[in-house]
Amino acid sequence: MKHQLLPLSETMHYILLALNEPLHGYAIMQTVEHMSGGAVILAAGTLYGAVDNLSKHGWIEPVPGESGRRKVYRITDEGKGILAIEQRRLQHLLSLYETREYDEKT
């Protein structure tokens, strides 16, 4: 059965992509803002809930050894697998856009 979080929401998608490098909460927001060209600005509650949810599913994990008040997360192999599924889905969608454009031209 398809996972309940799939297809990924924009918030989840950006967070998973951002966590290719280890980041703490606020840095995730900054990275996502930068990656999306300012289009996606995560608020505190949304970020906290999404990070909590993603780590519950084992798609991201706290980086061990990072002490201090801020927890640092990174993507897990399972999370990378999810991104691969999403990439195939989006590539397929994009290919449909492209054939449609091709149809219109001929």
Binding site: T46, Y48, R69
Partner: protein, 200 residues
């Protein structure tokens, strides 16, 4: 400035607080039993209310640090399933939820919270009234247990009456609070469904 106010609905409370802040105040302290302390503030402030279920000490710390990094200061809220009060300077990034999913999830938490409140008062009412909730709603005299209280006269009556009133209220108010909690639960269901319809 100190204000006393009781709210049955979290969204109404949030709106009321922000209306005070818009008058040029910042919230200083929120005490139990609806006591809010404000102080004048040169900067425009905003308050947002969140509700969170039980969190482990570690999760609660992470929750608070995340909000603090975004500029929110924690006014009130524990980790055993309670309302969280957050305040910050208004700077255009004044929401705590930025997508549809987290807003709908928030309204769902509010619905579960009000259901839990109603259930708690239901259990309490059942225990103290042994099940006769609807009868107890309108029979205030039955809340007074002193034998022959209503036959007494003059100061003897008033002394006994005033002495027992706080205890009688503990018996008389819960069924009413239970009814209000039920109404609030239905209201929060409607709000949740409206939110869901708007987005999904």
């Amino acid at each position: 400035m100190k204000k006393l106010r009781l709210f049955a609905n979290l969204l109404a409370e949030e709106k009321w607080l922000n209306d005070r802040l818009a008058e040029g105040y910042a919230c200083d302290r929120i005490s139990p039993f609806g006591s809010y302390t404000f102080k004048p503030s040169a900067r425009k402030m905003v308050i947002r209310l969140d509700y969170q279920d039980y969190m482990s000490a570690e999760k609660f710390e992470e929750y608070k640090v995340t909000y603090a990094d975004f500029g929110w200061s924690h006014l009130k809220g524990g980790r055993w399933g309670s309302i969280q009060y957050w305040q910050k300077n208004a700077d255009g990034r004044d929401e705590i939820f930025s997508d549809a999913g987290s807003q709908v999830a928030y309204y769902k938490r509010l619905m579960n919270y009000s259901l839990m409140t109603a259930c708690l008062f239901f259990i309490y009412t059942m225990i103290i009234l042994k099940g006769s909730i609807f009868h107890a709603l309108f029979d205030i005299k039955a809340s007074y247990l002193t034998n022959g209280l209503w036959e007494r006269e003059g100061s003897k009556f008033w002394r006994a009456f005033i002495f027992e009133t706080p205890f009688a209220m503990l018996r008389f108010l819960p069924p009413w609070i239970f009814m209000i909690a039920c109404a609030m639960f239905l209201f929060s269901c409607v709000q949740y469904n409206n939110k869901k319809k708007k987005y999904v």
